[in-house]
Symmetry: C2
Subunit: 147 residues, 2 copies
């Protein structure tokens, strides 16, 4: 979990990933909407590119300009981002909470992030959890790549 | 979301909340298990106390010693913590991933964090999401308390 939180836990990184989920993809649009300093934005884009969470796509050749899109690894952060959004909606004062609601397209009801059993599908309460030691697949493996 | 991520998004804060979910509650135990510097641990405990995510309980009077426990607001971070854990298990190399597996006590299968519709209960894909502007309940309300 150390490295998961390093990749996505920083304030600006999480907001940047949130902006990409909402459909922003161009540097100037992201910068304007988030009000993020350009050096911080450039740094977080580099971090997410090197972690394989986003990828660049060329949309202009002269001058060269890139859009940023979530990869499969990035799109798989949806439950994490929704859980944060969901918790903020419940516990933060309105002015500090989310500026959008995320709803189910089919029935328009707000989404919730829920822990489920991967086998029986039951919704899990924190008291139903069994903590099981992870069997290391390679003991003392050193870090090689963040991607 | 700004303030949600400020409360729980920092690396050490998320690890500290994770340790409390795993049942640690005493300063020395948390410090030993996480290998966290005492000034950082004291700072993050203060942050979480002031945000109402944890509470203190006296367990020794001479000298006065406190345990730290998650409040309802803190326990409600379970979907967020599980989503982070879940994502790390899938995308991080084994040595950087989780050291424990979280399983369903009843059937022993690993847990997953899933976005659900709050009304029909359907599991939601990122493409099924409707982004709806949040109606502000109090325009330009100023920050008063983080709790």
């Amino acid at each position: 979990m150390f490295h998961s939180i390093d990749t996505v836990g920083d304030r600006w990184t999480a907001l940047l990933v949130g902006a990409l989920f909402l459909g922003l993809s161009r540097y100037d649009d992201i910068s304007n909407v988030l009000g993020i300093a350009t050096n911080i934005l450039a740094d977080r884009l580099r971090l997410l590119l090197s972690a394989g969470v986003i990828e660049q796509r060329l949309y202009s050749e002269h001058p060269p300009r890139h859009e940023y899109h979530l990869t499969s690894k990035g799109l798989d952060l949806f439950p994490f981002m929704l859980a944060l959004h969901d918790w903020g909606s419940r516990w933060m004062p309105p002015a500090e909470g989310a500026i959008v609601q995320l709803r189910h397209q089919a029935c328009r009801a707000p989404l919730r992030s829920r822990p489920l059993c991967g086998s029986c599908g039951e919704i899990i309460d924190v008291h139903d959890v069994l903590v099981h030691p992870q069997t290391p697949t390679r003991a003392k493996r050193r870090r090689t790549s963040r991607a």
